[in-house]
């Protein structure tokens, strides 16, 4: 049996080795993405169209396509998330019902992203006959981020002290007015933060949209809701499959870095929104 000191020393070294490996992984991942990405990234890469199946040119319409998908997803998710959070926070009378709603919405978080793609393919593409369309992609992404946005909004509403509600009602406001004038403004930061975090996740998703919303080439600004778009993640997928073509690989890294930069911007905005919009309560 090892003495206590030896065990302690061994454990300390195990911790250091583990951290060293994790750090090495961390540095490798970030380093690889940055180094490889910056080789391809340039202003002209961002604004020019993809040529020669992505191996030449840039990511103009991929970038636009990704942005369209998440902006419309945001538009679709906001009313439902807000309404659900409102109901959960202000109208639910039994705790049991509340927990039930929580469970059904949380469960959405656990569903594998590929399943959303399959669901979209069955319902929208085949049963509703919408064909491959970017709107389906937005709908699926909106469903995916619904839990994130709802929970964040609900938490903000729950954090509003009851005295605010009491005072508003005591002033003679109706409940609807109270919600509009007190609850909504005081929980806006939760909505915005949750939305931005959700979008940061949505823009990187490939599996839900690759069968139902995207196309490989010839895609420009969509002219109807029944058209596919091209997105950054699916573009990276197509390029990753031809990884021995150095030009394709370079552009894949460029597209990856662009994607990650957008994710970082969205997360950064979420951080700022949380700090700037959160009401300062003296109590």
């Amino acid at each position: 049996m090892l003495s206590r000191t030896v065990k302690n020393t061994l454990f300390a070294s195990a911790l250091r080795i583990a951290l060293f490996i994790s750090l090495a992984i961390l540095i490798f991942l970030i380093g690889a993405i940055l180094l490889e990405g910056f080789k391809a990234l340039s202003p002209s890469f961002i604004v020019s169209e993809a040529r020669d199946f992505g191996a030449a040119g840039g990511i103009r319409y991929q970038l636009l396509g990704s942005l369209i998908l998440i902006i419309v997803a945001a538009v679709l998710v906001v009313p439902f998330a807000l309404g659900t959070a409102l109901y959960r926070s202000e109208y639910v009378t039994s705790e049991k019902l509340g927990r039930c709603i929580d469970l059904t919405i949380f469960s959405l978080n656990g569903i594998p992203s590929i399943t959303y793609g399959l669901f979209g393919l069955i319902v929208f593409v085949n049963i509703l006959g919408m064909g491959v369309s970017w709107l389906i992609g937005s709908i699926l992404l909106a469903i995916m981020i619904l839990p994130t946005v709802t929970v964040s909004t609900h938490q903000a509403m729950r954090a509003i002290p009851n005295i605010y509600r009491e005072s508003a009602l005591a002033l003679g406001l109706t409940r609807a007015e109270m919600v509009r004038k007190v609850i909504l403004p005081q929980s806006l930061h939760g909505l915005v933060t949750g939305l931005l975090i959700g979008l940061a996740r949505a823009i990187g998703e490939t599996a839900p949209i690759m069968f139902v919303a995207t196309a490989f080439s010839g895609v420009t600004w969509p002219q109807s809701i029944y058209e596919p778009v091209s997105t950054l993640p699916t573009h990276i997928l197509a390029l990753a499959q031809q990884a021995t073509n150095p030009d394709a690989l370079r552009n894949a890294w460029g597209a990856s870095l662009s994607l990650i930069i957008i994710v970082m911007i969205l997360s950064g905005l979420a951080f700022i929104a949380r700090r700037k919009l959160e009401p300062q309560r003296s109590m």
Binding site: L15, L29, T84, I114, L118, V123, T174, R175, R201
Partner: protein, 302 residues
């Protein structure tokens, strides 16, 4: 007039004479949001129905050959399980040990740098991990083991380990940091070594949350498609020998990713794919809900 109670804390006291627009809107949204999951599960159930009730598909065989009417899903389930096991065997000890280091370090700067880098890593889309797998990892594995191809079980397992490492580290670190300082100080005052403090009091107190973190990570690994799909080799066959991690394989997700678009809607082939997806959803839902249950328990009042 509205009867307004002055104490909204007791919400059941408040009676409303009629529904107003705002309430209908809130109720409607909540109803809609909570039925989506039913809609998804229902769709999957209906579509997998033909596969579930057909007799001659040999679903539990190990041969996948849609052209020959053979729909054995065992290779995919085995591939999924073995890749998850590899990922967990690597990521769990590594993640928890690193988390202990980060939680116990006295350097606030190191802690800050590490935690923010982890947030960055957790935000990297899975397709980018896939690119890293194709461009680096699979080549390293092929060279390291002198294989003909790096698209094997081990590569996929390693890549998944990389992907869930940030999750495990962040959540375990939170769990370990939230163990009260008093526990550590009391234990330290008894003359316990750092190792003993961690083993005897910190880890037992953080156990439930770490288990929750592991389950959550497992759920994510299970549902991961893009990265795995690019490095798994997509061979619908059990490896031989069974635990040969240097053979190509197939997971449920990679199977779905590669074949959904190719199977005709309504065909038996499609139905079996939907069934696989349903199995996947069932697994991940169980894991996610179990993780939530673990997190809500407060380990410090035990």
């Amino acid at each position: 007039m509205n009867q307004i109670s002055l104490n909204p804390r007791l919400r059941t006291d408040i009676t409303f004479p009629k529904w107003n627009g705002l309430k209908s809107y809130a109720v409607g949204s909540a109803l809609f949001s909570s039925t989506i999951i039913m809609l998804i599960l229902g769709t999957l159930l209906i579509q997998s129905h033909p596969a579930l009730f057909a007799n001659d598909l040999n679903l539990l065989s190990e041969v996948w050959d849609p052209a020959g009417g053979q729909y054995g899903i065992i290779p995919m389930i085995f591939g999924t399980l073995i890749i998850m096991s590899i990922a967990m065997i690597i990521a769990l000890p590594l993640g928890v040990l690193s988390a202990i280091y980060i939680a116990e370090t006295r350097s606030d700067r190191l802690k800050h740098i590490l935690k923010s880098s982890l947030e960055v890593l957790a935000g990297i889309p899975s397709i980018v991990y896939g690119l890293i797998g194709v461009a680096y990892l699979s080549i390293w594995v092929a060279e390291g083991f002198e294989l003909q191809t790096g698209r094997v079980i081990l590569t996929a397992g390693l890549l998944l380990a990389l992907m869930i490492l940030p999750t495990i580290m962040t959540l375990s670190e939170d769990a370990i940091s939230s163990v009260p300082r008093a526990y550590r100080e009391n234990a330290a005052s008894l003359g316990l070594y750092h190792y003993e403090i961690i083993k005897d009091i910190v880890l037992p107190a953080a156990k439930a949350d770490i288990a929750g973190a592991a389950l959550l990570a497992l759920g994510r690994a299970l549902g991961e498609t893009m990265a795995v799909m690019l490095v798994i080799g997509s061979l619908d066959r059990l490896p031989s020998p069974l635990f040969n991690v240097l053979a190509s394989s197939q997971t449920i997700t990679s199977k779905l990713g590669r074949e959904i678009a190719e199977s005709a809607f309504g065909s038996t082939h499609f139905s079996v794919l939907v069934l696989m997806s349903l199995i996947l959803v069932a697994f991940t839902l169980i894991l996610t809900i179990a993780a939530q249950k673990l997190f809500t328990k407060d380990p410090h009042n035990a």
